[in-house]
Symmetry: C2
Subunit: 443 residues, 2 copies
């Protein structure tokens, strides 16, 4: 439904019509429709949403819209919404709101839920603990399928997912049973007979990137999270894992382009924040590029004697930079997907070395030939071709070593992508170039 | 379990022990263990896998291992495995095998399944149709919950997912019911009463990127796929959607580093293929960089008169390139996530313009000050600062316009990332630089 139709109905006080429409709309779509509303209409419109859907709509709104609504809510309304929200959505909400609003929300939550929320808020950002929910279905191994189904019918409606059930014994996870197992099994089978004991799990402190990798490797719908005592404390659901995978990729892509990652989308991020996220890297890289400039001045005599040398600087720098970023990017992605680890460093180096020989020789031949034809200058062709081969080998080796070293030193490998590699490779390529030129031209 | 332990048990013919171990191992882990085996041991080891798990293990193997096993299989073994595999896994398998093996497999499949497979194989690569499965649970709206549960118990075991059931009427999708709805509802409620009619769906020809976006936006577990007559033909499950999201990000990241994307992992791709995926872009970019070189020679008199000018070329080129790739990367990712479309082009340009002013002025001030202090040359500081500001503005505008234009022209916006932008911006920055220098130094 378009905003203007909705507004007309609201102005005409056609509440019944609005309610019927909201009744058949998806919660996510209602949330994005309401995000276009002004403060006053927003609360009015929100109150028309069917009660069963209100919490889900609220959970799908942007922080700005949520804050706006919270200001408009009465204490009773606020309490109702928060009570109906899933634990992980509540925690997400609280993480991004100003302190005074958080206090107001926490004072409206029952003490038990508040205690759980406080524990979840304590987990470090980007850890498995910070994205898990504490709402899952637990079963006993002695239950029959019939008893288990009755138990789920009783508690299931308040749980975020009931499709993987966890068999616990003294808070330890001893097995998992899927809803599918239960639905296709005979009523009198016991959980013990049905449950699988090969369990994939993470600990609360594990990185969310690892959570994403496990979901993708094992095709999971939910992943149990254990605390340091190996007791089960929660689950991560597949929808949150999907968000993690998308966010981690976006974060890596930003960093790889020398932009500090923002949690918000492009348009949600203000101009000043955009500038702030970009300027630090630009300043650092500009300073490093100055080094390359200083090196060039050292060879002033060389290009005073053979001025044509200057015109090949951009080609050498660009090609070196491109070769380096090709390697670093593939390695960074391989590390992020868990396909490449530091132990593979020599295997990777050998592979990149062989690739760089092939690529380097082809580029050198192409360029050497072009120079021979265009300038009829054999020495120049030799200088450029030799420089190209050495630069490409250097670039590819630097490009594959630095991300792996960064990983080993617990930095994010993504910072070792194109821009930084380019700057480092630039300096190398200029040094290689002028040294080769000095030798060949006897400068 | 480590490979060597397994090999020892195999050599000692301890088949019972191996079977018990395989029984508790996850299918994905068995697949990766077996991938390290030689041809002969592979088939021997595979035959020890519990029958209920064999198809799942097989589906999780690499193409090379699968081919190897298929060669070793008898017709009966092959038939059993294929019969137990889910439809979408079978299609994935067939897409990557040589034609003679495909023929052998298809001749071992029952005609009905073969017909379905042939339809699935026909969908264009990367379309929703190509990643869907035709196995889902359909219900009638007149069924009661009890009847629906009985129906699922009967057919469910052969379906890839039973957690979202589809209510069909003359092959049209009229509603969806989740397993959770069924499990928590009273036995005598009808499907009609339970089903939701706000349905998110795609068509067979839609791009898989869109499928990933819908899963992530609406937190889905499965997504129905309709044909051009609006009849339901299959579903995409969340595990495949997750793979799509990971693959699409990897593809974009590769392209953004000027590497043609490979479907295989870094180590699975041979050196020659790696070289082939990289060389074309490098040649194209090298040629373009030559243009920058040619422009430089035009200004030979300028740097003959003021040799220090040459030493700022790398800094200007790098900063311009970095600014351009920052913008292009954020825009490309925004397009991939569906947050930015061509219609936003003026909004994006205005935003990037404002950002570039802030960033450009800071960079110019920092550099101008450095030059004043180091070289005590006011004219030089002015030339570099003015060139920087203009270059940054140009770079950011080009960086945001080109990906959007590419999208509009149905190219992959990712090709407009760092390397190409860098090369284009290089030429611009050199032109800007020497023109500013010519004016200020009256050359």
């Amino acid at each position: 439904m378009e905003k203007n139709i909705f507004m007309e109905l609201l102005a005409a006080r056609e509440f019944k019509a609005i309610r019927s429409i909201l009744n058949v709309m998806n919660a996510v779509d209602i949330a994005s429709l309401l995000s276009e509303f002004e403060e006053k209409e927003l609360a009015q419109a929100f109150r028309l949403i069917p009660k069963a859907k209100a919490a889900e709509v609220f959970a799908n709104m942007s922080n700005a819209t949520q804050s706006c609504l919270i200001d408009a809510f009465t204490e009773t309304e606020l309490k109702e919404i928060i009570d109906d929200m899933f634990m992980d959505d509540t925690v997400d909400l609280l993480e991004d709101l100003p302190a005074n609003v958080v206090t107001r929300i926490l004072s409206n939550i029952n003490p038990q839920k508040r205690a759980q929320i406080n524990i979840l808020l304590d987990y470090p950002q980007d850890s498995a603990g910070s994205i898990m929910t504490t709402e899952y279905v637990s079963l006993k191994r002695t239950m029959t399928v019939k008893q288990a189904m009755a138990h789920i019918k009783e508690v299931g409606i308040h749980k975020e997912t009931i499709y993987t059930c966890y068999v616990l014994e003294a808070r330890r996870l001893v097995g998992i049973v899927t809803a599918k197992d239960l639905m296709v099994a005979d009523d009198d089978k016991t959980i013990e007979e049905l449950m699988r004991t090969e369990i994939i799990f993470v600990h609360t402190g594990d990185d969310q990137e690892q959570v994403g990798q496990l979901f993708s490797k094992y095709d999971l719908l939910a992943l149990p999270v254990l605390d340091t005592d190996e007791c089960m404390v929660g689950i991560v659901t597949v929808d949150d894992a999907l968000d993690v995978v998308v966010d981690e990729a976006t974060e890596d892509i930003s960093l790889m382009a020398a932009v500090n990652p923002s949690e918000k989308s492009y348009f949600e991020t203000p101009v000043l924040t955009h500038a702030k996220n970009r300027i630090v890297w630009l300043l650092v890289l500009m300073l490093s590029a100055t080094a390359t400039g200083v090196i060039i001045t050292h060879y002033e005599n060389a290009f005073a004697a053979v001025p044509i040398l200057v015109s090949f600087i951009p080609m050498l720098m660009d090609t070196g930079g491109n070769c380096g970023s090709q390697s670093s990017t593939l390695i960074i992605r391989g590390i992020a997907l868990g396909e490449i680890t530091f132990r593979d460093i020599f295997k990777v180096m050998f592979k990149e070395f062989r690739i760089s020989i092939i690529v380097g020789v082809i580029l050198a031949l192409a360029n050497g030939l072009r120079i021979l034809l265009m300038y009829k200058n054999f020495s120049l062709a030799v200088v450029i071709s030799i420089s190209l081969v050495i630069t490409v080998i250097f670039a590819k080796l630097i490009g594959c070593i630095l991300p792996l070293l960064a990983k080993k030193l617990h930095f994010d490998p993504a910072i070792m992508a194109s821009p930084l590699i380019t700057t480092i490779v630039d300096t190398c390529s200029i040094l290689i170039y002028f040294n080769v030129a000095t030798v060949v031209f006897h400068l």
